[in-house]
């Protein structure tokens, strides 16, 4: 049972990192960024790129890759999404779908479809760790949980305490009013994309070191999308229970039910949530109506 619990927390942490990206972009711009999974993959490949260029420098490689991804998110907003302002939301969503396809194609073009493992390039290993209670997880499993916790604490502090974070929340709620008060909401929207890129990259970097790196990792983004909707698309706090619920159902269905259910269980959770509470656990009802 402790192993089930440990695995649930690890999977939930990965989903939470990815889902944070959906929520950050949605809260600020009301756009569902369906390229979030591919931004995770991009982060993993940035790590591979940097680690191949400067082998044996894990800290430098990881930080650079995460910053590259944040920059990529910023640039995507400035070059692509900014021009979608004033267009129907579904058009912006379709742009993100196209973006995801293009990112995947670009990765295949440069790196082919071969499975990569950046860990040896970083000069790191991933030994198992025994937890109290007997459960065993990998070092990068533990890192995933730690990084997710740190990211959420950082985001909560940033959004609630820092002037920029407060401005970001304000711009997300009433962009026009915020603009009238002199807030550069375009910059804040770009920042939310950068943060989403950063969060996705953390997921990609950790996953690439823990499991593998290949261009198809983006499909995990779909499961994390279910997490964001279960928690409430405009609620960062909702991501954590959403991720825990989806991960628990997934892990338990493998352990005690049919392992094939693992693939569909996030969407079963989503379906159940949409039937009972369409705006998610901690989402805002009016937000949904506005969508």
């Amino acid at each position: 049972m402790t192993q089930v619990l440990a695995t649930t927390v690890v999977v939930a942490s990965l989903y939470a990192l990815l889902a944070a990206g959906y929520v950050l972009v949605y809260r600020a711009t009301r756009v569902l960024n369906l390229a979030q999974g591919d931004m995770m993959t991009l982060g993993g490949y940035f790590l591979f790129l940097v680690a191949a260029a400067v082998p044996g420098q894990p800290a430098l490689s990881i930080v650079t890759a995460a910053l590259f991804s944040a920059l990529a998110g910023f640039v995507i907003y400035r070059l692509l999404m900014r021009s979608m302002a004033g267009h129907p939301i579904f058009a912006a969503v379709l742009v993100t779908v196209t973006l995801g396809i293009l990112l995947r194609a670009a990765i295949v073009l440069v790196y082919t479809d071969r499975i990569r493992h950046p860990l040896p390039l970083l000069g790191l290993s991933n030994p198992p760790r025994r937890l109290p209670g007997g459960a065993v997880v990998s070092t990068f499993d533990l890192a995933t949980v730690g990084v997710a916790a740190a990211l959420f604490l950082g985001l909560f502090a940033f959004l609630r305490l820092s002037p920029l974070g407060i401005q970001m929340r304000a711009a997300g709620e009433k962009a026009l009013l915020a603009a009238q008060r002199g807030i550069n909401f375009q910059l804040l929207f770009a920042l939310s994309w950068a943060l989403a890129g950063f969060a996705g990259a953390l997921a990609g970097i950790l996953y690439a070191n823990n499991v593998r790196l290949d261009p198809s990792l983006g499909v995990l983004g779909l499961k994390a999308f279910a997490v964001a909707l279960v928690g409430g698309l405009d609620s960062l706090g909702g991501v954590i229970p959403g991720a825990l619920i989806v991960a628990a159902v997934e892990v338990l269905s493998v352990r005690y039910g049919d392992p094939l259910l693992a693939d569909v269980s996030p969407f079963l959770c989503l379906l159940a949530m949409l039937l009972v509470r369409p705006w998610g656990l901690f989402g805002t009802r009016e937000e949904l109506e506005r969508v």
């Binding site: 690890v10 295949v108 082919t112 479809d113 071969r114 025994r130 499909v219 352990r255 094939l260």
Partner: protein, 385 residues
């Protein structure tokens, strides 16, 4: 108005006349998963074909005729494969499929309709290639359903040395993998091994641990996996992580050499039909020199495609010139190809066996005492009846 029409007609005639000599060559159509989730397994076959027939053509072709290969990417998707099959069947004397089993049906249908020989080179061999073989279906791929399980379980039994062992099975959520390992589960029981029910793993699971935990909790001493590489290895790594002490046997796809060296695990065994390039045979050096700078995958990924291309070249040689499709099918049905060490023996086809008269397997693992990959014994021959 008549003059432009006449000019257009003349231009078309000129183009047709120009194109005609190009038809005087062996025309082969190939569909492969060059991109897509399964491409790491299949794209090297496409690259090997390109490099191999470039060399053949540079040396004057086969029977004095060039071999013209047309390639289409099907991404391992049946709907793309259906479109490719239609397109490639036009004017080809043979189609090659190097893709996932999901793409087989449209190719086999097209082959049957057009009475066109179809060679599977890189994807798992379909039952139509085994005795009694369909006259148009051929397969050069090293792995073949049922025979792989027969060998694998025999190996496990031999390694157990008379001890009673429990065998678990890690399949992927694709039909072929499940069917094969369900067969293996039954066979294990018949062979006196204790079989744990097959654990089916979704290919895109974020974490293999729950599946590994299931196998560990069931008390598996050995686990056999026959799936795409990332699933085979994903389950093994998760088992290692949770402290499992058993032995793991998987089918060794092209990635084997890289991955055995990466994982350095003495309890991971990879079986397959191709010699690993770490054995440094003369043919390996020859391939490495030829593909240098031509392929995106390393030379040691080329074995599967290289053998297939060797078999096709032998068939074309035997067919002579001109070589219509029916004559090529007859020629292929009696080829015997020396694989020059890439496999454990020759590929010999007969009228009713288009898989091979004998198939050969070898097992490799990381040997901690040598700190290198090492074969576990020599080749094992199985006679295909």
């Amino acid at each position: 108005m008549a003059r432009p029409a006449l000019t257009l007609f003349a231009a078309l005639l000129a183009v047709t006349t120009t194109v005609t000599p190009a038809l005087a060559q062996y025309r082969i159509g190939m569909s492969a998963a060059i991109t897509g989730p399964a491409s790491s397994t299949y794209a090297p076959t496409y690259e090997a074909y390109k490099a191999y027939f470039k060399r053949v053509n540079d040396a004057g072709g086969v029977n004095g005729q060039k071999v013209e290969l047309t390639y289409e990417d099907d991404r391992g998707e049946p709907q793309r494969a259906a479109a490719n099959a239609k397109k490639l069947a036009e004017g080809s004397i043979l189609m090659v499929n190097a893709s996932t089993s999901a793409t087989y049906k449209p190719f086999m249908t097209e082959s049957e309709t057009e009475k066109l020989p179809l060679l599977f080179g890189g994807g798992v061999c379909p039952r139509e290639a085994f005795p009694p073989a369909s006259p148009l279906i051929f397969c050069s791929t090293s792995f073949g359903s049922k025979w792989d399980s027969r060998f694998a379980l025999g190996f496990i039994k031999e390694q157990a040395g008379g001890k009673k062992v429990k065998v678990g099975f890690a399949a992927q959520d694709i039909p072929l993998s499940r069917i094969e390992l369900e067969f293996a589960e039954q066979l294990a029981k018949e062979m006196g091994l204790e079989a744990i029910p097959v654990v089916v793993v979704p290919g895109n699971t974020p974490d293999f641990t729950p599946f590994a935990q299931k196998l560990k909790d069931a008390g598996a001493d050995w686990v056999l996996s026959w799936a795409l590489w990332h699933v085979e290895v994903g389950v093994f790594e998760a088992l290692s992580r949770i402290g499992w002490q058993g032995s793991y046997l998987l089918y060794g796809h092209q990635q084997t050499q890289d991955e055995l060296a990466r994982l350095k695990a003495g309890n991971l065994f990879a079986f397959g039909g191709n010699t690993l390039f770490m054995e440094s045979l003369p043919i390996h050096a020859e391939i490495a020199n030829l593909v240098k700078g031509q392929t995106t995958h390393p030379a040691h990924y080329m074995a599967e495609g290289w053998v297939s291309a060797m078999v096709l070249e032998a068939g074309l040689k035997k067919c002579g010139w001109p070589c219509p499709k029916d004559k090529l099918a007859t020629a292929l049905a009696s080829v015997s190809v020396d694989t020059r060490g890439l496999r454990g023996g020759p590929i010999e086809w007969t009228a009713d066996n288009h898989y091979r008269k004998n198939t050969y397997y070898k097992v490799y693992r990381w040997d901690p005492s040598k700190n290198a990959i090492a074969p576990v014994g020599g080749w094992t021959r199985l006679e295909i009846k």
